[in-house]
């Protein structure tokens, strides 16, 4: 099935793509941390956009994709933040004599940070292949078994999403929308049950296939990779950049 939309940018090539995953992960972590360390009523300046958007543009990731994706995951934050002006009625002065209810400023600040944070995260995710991300995480100290779990999850996620979609399609094909709520719940539960059975069978078969190729309970990960000059330079540059922005 067509899952290329998820990974597709990660398989392109650019200087950003070629950076070590660890460097990118750490850079994004540092950036995001500084971003959320800003006080409540401070809206991040436009300079903060430089890091994520440089990465994105240099890596050839279309900004429309970023916008769409950000919009997709924004509902919770937007809903929550919409209440800020309601609850935060303290007064905040902007630019001299202009005063606004603090809630509006806080809302704007959170939203701007959210968009920037998302841009950075997308920059990380669409320039790094998932297996490389995993290797990076492992080298950064994430427990081996968790990384293995991530590996398997990733592998079988798409398979199961396909199956879930097929089951859902089959069910939709027989749903004229007039059934009672309880019946629809039953249908939903049935879908989940079916999916579960297939899950368990898949696990069995995979286990067999692994045994057939000599699996003895441990899986080694191949080729960890080395830091190069570019990676250090990138990370250092990021740290300097955020430090200057934040505290200067």
């Amino acid at each position: 099935m067509h899952h290329h939309y998820i990974d597709r940018f990660a398989y392109q090539d650019s200087p950003i793509h070629r950076l070590d995953a660890r460097a990118k992960i750490l850079a994004v972590l540092v950036y995001s941390t500084v971003l959320i360390s800003l006080p409540r009523y401070v809206i991040p300046s436009a300079w903060y956009a430089v890091l994520p958007f440089t990465m994105l543009v240099w890596a050839g990731v279309p900004l429309r994709f970023v916008a769409k994706h950000t919009l997709l995951v924004s509902p919770f934050v937007v809903c929550l933040v919409a209440f800020a002006p309601v609850f935060d009625r303290s007064l905040v002065r902007l630019h001299g004599t202009w005063t606004v209810a603090g809630g509006w400023v806080a809302a704007a600040s959170i939203l701007v940070r959210f968009v920037l944070g998302m841009a950075a995260l997308i920059a990380l995710a669409s320039t790094t292949r998932f297996p490389d991300l995993l290797r990076g995480l492992r080298r950064l100290g994430v427990p081996h078994i968790l990384v293995l779990q991530l590996q398997f999850l990733y592998r079988y996620l798409f398979l199961l999403l396909d199956q879930a979609m097929h089951i859902r399609q089959a069910r939709t094909a027989r749903d004229a929308g007039k059934g009672p709520l309880a019946w629809r719940w039953r249908g939903g539960a049935g879908q989940i049950g079916m999916l579960l059975v297939r899950t368990l069978e898949q696990a069995d078969r995979t286990h067999m296939a692994m045994l057939a190729r000599g699996y003895d309970g441990t899986i080694q990960m191949v080729r960890p990779g080395r830091w190069r000059q570019h990676d250090w330079a990138f990370l250092l540059a990021t740290i300097v950049y955020v430090t200057v922005l934040r505290w200067w």
């Binding site: 398989y11 590996q151 398997f152 045994l211 699996y215």
Partner: protein
């Protein structure tokens, strides 16, 4: 008595619920020999392959090079008997193709460098070098099929046990598969409904039904025997 590479004597297997999947099966496959395994659904083909590969333990003996294999023997000789399952998705479980191909060799104790070499050798042979960095869900069905075979070949088996290798393949991929298998000089036992494939590749065929070995002989004789084939739920076949 010719020296068989892989043989079974009185192999029987019974499921937990009491049904007999295999009943006193005897067979022998010589080095480099390509043998077909046919039979209706539920006849025990898959079970037989699993027993021969040591993933299921039945009664009776399975011998490699004349030596009976115990559970630990099977484990030690993983890779010599290469089991290829029906669905490639079950067999490709690492994040990238390269790691999948390396999985077997590394489990055989090869160091990183040697495993790397094997991976490239086998990828080259199966035409997969461009896909090494890709994730399995980026491969087409035919490529996945080749990848599953490659993953097992990377362990340098002396015999392949294949379960429905041509299922879900379009005609072009199927032809490619036949070519690949023809060029391989490894011994193989191919369980398949695809009689044309069996007819192409195998000089010898075994017919199994209800867990029993019903016939074992030349391909043309067995596949062309309408009465025999039809009485076991199959259709007869002759080469065009």
């Amino acid at each position: 008595m010719p020296e068989y590479l892989l043989s079974a004597e009185g192999l029987s297997y019974r499921y937990d619920d009491g049904t007999d999947a295999l009943v006193k099966v005897d067979l022998g496959i010589g080095p480099g020999e390509k043998v077909g395994l046919i039979g209706p659904n539920g006849s025990g083909k898959s079970t037989l392959l699993l027993c021969l590969g040591g993933l299921l333990t039945g009664r009776g003996a399975v011998k490699l090079d004349g030596r009976p294999l115990t559970r630990s023997d099977f484990k030690a000789s993983r890779g010599q008997i290469g089991l290829i399952f029906q669905s490639p998705d079950d067999q490709l479980f690492m994040p990238t193709l390269e790691e999948d191909l390396a999985f077997g060799p590394i489990n055989q104790g090869l160091d990183e460098h040697a495993a790397h070499e094997r991976v490239h050798q086998v990828a080259d042979r199966m035409g997969l070098d461009a896909m090494l960095g890709r994730a399995p869900h980026h491969l087409s069905m035919g490529q996945k099929r080749n990848a599953a075979i490659a993953a097992v070949l990377a362990m340098k088996p002396t015999i392949l046990l294949m379960d429905e290798p041509s299922s879900n393949l379009d005609p072009r991929s199927r032809r490619r598969l036949i070519k690949v298998l023809t060029d391989l000089d490894t011994a193989m036992l191919i369980a398949s409904h695809d009689l044309a494939l069996v007819g192409c590749l195998c000089r010898r065929v075994m017919l199994i039904d209800e867990g029993r070995m019903v016939a074992d002989g030349s391909t043309t004789e067995i596949l062309g025997n309408a009465e025999l084939m039809e009485s076991h739920g199959l259709e007869w076949w002759t080469p065009r």
